[in-house]
Symmetry: C2
Subunit: 234 residues, 2 copies
């Protein structure tokens, strides 16, 4: 199964794992991030950080330049985290930051999918399990992730603007097994963390329609005793 | 029941109805909007439209100047609407606009509530029933409203930063009976539209704890044969 994929956030821990995994599977890989991923076949380095419409234009233009043909998949794993409740002096600042990091990237990914995904192609967005309910200690983060969840539902419905038979999904891991998490939570139960390779492998299977959930679904990833299972969340 | 309330969006159709209703009930009313509402006791006219943090600062400073004491209620009825699916050339533009119109105003309202609401005070935010599911034809609108819904859930939980015993609710009308809707949908079944006075009256009852739902709830308003009922949405 040769093919072409785009990793939005290919410079991060999960994104870089996906780039390496897909390269090893002989796919053409384009990374979009603030810094290039040297393992990728092509890089779109985002420089416009202050204006949503200009960032969209920048990314669209660069992707059109480096991409020859259609994409099999777009995997957005970009995002960030910031806390704060309603009484925080940083409420607005952090809500703004979370919007930029989570909603700019996912909205641009949706637009890229509408333009470049092949019929039956795959778009995956990054959700967050806590945002299915209230998140009083991280209000801006919860709002941004709730928006990503709802975007996924929109994209899974008729006339969403995605190509025919395209599939849009949102993954909701609990804790990823990343170097940063190992560094900052050395005493946590790491057998409950989801390996990044598991996710990259799952993405690859989904490209091949293997165990692919229906479009519009939010997919919870639960790891227990080093075993990861997938649950569709209503 | 004398008291003080703030109407965010007091220049719009629903907001102006609330200002008039509360004034008739002898409450002190402050309107926040792009234009002043001459019926209000105080006006905060928002001039900063390009930067979220600066708009927050502007509103916070002006509210601190005009407000003497604590607020009994903050009613945010600001918002807007724009359509477009993922293939729309205006996807990013409209998503950005919806964020500004719906999420800036509600986030600033939450911050105002944390600072100025009395213990047991009321904060009401404007939701949208369709955004409980996907909204493929109005993607940016759905994301912004989903964020408002999730914000309400956050504010209803412990340690949200709101004052003790404060109540945060989100209303979800289907169609309001406004002059604009009468003008543009003259042939629609107007007995299924919710009167703005019904909402202003409900807000006033809620201030008095009459039929007040539990904090964090989304309240659907359904009007049929000119009768409106309230349903709590899970």
């Amino acid at each position: 199964m040769p093919g072409k994929v785009l990793i939005y956030g290919g410079g991060g821990a999960l994104g870089a794992t996906c780039v390496s995994y897909f390269k090893a599977k002989k796919l053409w890989v384009c990374s979009i991030d603030l810094k290039p991923n040297e393992s990728a076949d092509a890089n779109v380095v985002v420089q416009e950080l202050s204006d949503f419409e200009k960032q969209d234009q920048e990314v669209q233009e660069r992707v059109s330049q480096v991409l020859d043909g259609e994409l099999d998949g777009i995997f957005c794993v970009a995002g960030g985290w910031a806390g704060g409740n309603a009484a925080s002096k940083d409420l607005v600042k952090n809500t703004n930051l979370m919007w930029k990091q989570s909603v700019w990237s996912t909205t641009i990914s949706a637009s890229l999918a509408a333009r470049h995904l092949k019929c039956g192609g795959l778009l995956v967005l990054p959700g967050a399990l806590p945002a299915l309910d209230g998140t009083p200690g991280m209000i801006g983060y919860g709002m941004a992730k709730a928006a990503v969840h709802q975007l996924t539902k929109s994209l899974g419905q008729k006339d969403s603007g995605l190509p025919a038979d395209a599939c849009a999904l949102c993954i909701m891991p609990v804790t990823l097994d990343t170097p940063m998490n190992r560094k900052f939570m050395p005493d946590a139960d790491q057998t409950a963390w989801t390996p990044m390779e598991y996710i990259a492998s799952m993405f690859f299977d989904w490209l091949d329609k293997k165990d692919l959930p229906a479009s519009g679904n939010l997919v919870k990833l639960v790891t227990k005793d080093s075993n990861t299972t997938r649950l569709i969340v209503d």
